[in-house]
């Protein structure tokens, strides 16, 4: 039974890695856009 433990671990690890990488990528894109928005607003305010 434990012979297939590696497959079980690989499947669950793949799901979590996929989800975490995607959440990180959304957060990064959002942060960059918010910074750009802030920058444009501050330049317009001058």
């Amino acid at each position: 039974m434990t012979a297939n433990l590696g497959y079980l671990f690989a499947a669950y690890a793949a799901v979590w890695i996929g989800i975490i990488v995607y959440v990180r990528s959304i957060e990064r894109r959002t942060r960059e856009l918010e910074d750009e928005l802030q920058d444009i607003r501050s330049r317009r305010g001058r």
Partner: protein, 231 residues
């Protein structure tokens, strides 16, 4: 909006913790497949989340075509990306289960083939939206693709029931065959995991919609700056 995001995040986290507890501490090990059958408790919910994402694309695209709603278009973009993520996870976890059970990583079974086709359609949608720019014609073309692509979801769902493939029918057995869920606890665990995965997908869609909204605001401000002769 932020409050809804936080609420969904906590609901998804709570449901996921319960699901993981059931998967690894409560549900009995399936007699024939052994421990690898537990991959189903993530593989099948990922498929549900992918279907939900793609159906959302189809509905939101229909609303966009009918009413020209920008909010519906943004929802379609977000749901397509999240649907592709979960469909990719289905295509990764499936072969990991298949290798010890079937002895091969991949076979051109009807449902597996239809899943690849479904994934390709929505990858094309995501590419179109990512590289198509802000052209309204591209958005309309993508909306049609998003609606037509949903036909593959229906085909894919029924392929496992109707066609004589080797992919197991996890929830409802084919006539004359046993279902993959022999113990009632297996059904409860799968349902809990499905709820958790759908909540997680909904949270990701909300996050992605917010990114689209900010991107649109940035684009509008940039245009205003350019038309006004720069700053």
């Amino acid at each position: 909006m932020r409050r809804a995001e936080t609420g969904l995040r906590w609901a998804a986290s709570g449901a996921m913790l319960v699901a993981l507890f059931l998967i690894f501490c409560v549900v009995p090990t399936e007699a024939q497949m052994g421990i690898v059958q537990r991959i189903f408790y993530f593989h099948v919910p990922c498929a549900f989340a992918a279907y939900a994402g793609f159906l959302t694309v189809a509905v939101a695209s229909a609303v966009y075509l009918a009413k020209g709603s920008v909010a519906a278009d943004r929802l379609a973009i977000a749901a397509a990306e999240v649907g592709v993520l979960f469909c990719t996870l289905v295509l990764i976890t499936g072969p990991i289960w298949a290798r010890p059970i079937w002895g091969v990583w991949w076979t051109w079974d009807p449902q597996l083939t239809l899943t690849i086709i479904l994934w390709s359609i929505y990858v094309a949608y995501v590419m179109l939206r990512a590289f198509g720019g802000e052209d309204e014609a591209i958005a309309r073309y993508a909306a049609v693709l998003g609606i037509v692509g949903s036909l593959a979801i229906v085909l894919n769902h029924y392929a496992v029931q109707l066609l004589e493939g080797i992919h197991p029918a996890v929830i409802r057995a084919r006539p004359g065959r046993e279902s993959g869920l022999g113990d009632p606890m297996m059904g409860i665990t799968l349902a809990t995991s499905a709820v958790a995965m759908l909540l997680l997908a909904a949270w990701l869609v909300m996050l992605r919609v917010r990114t689209e909204r900010i991107a649109a605001e940035v684009a509008t401000l940039r245009r205003e700056v350019e038309e006004g002769g720069g700053v």
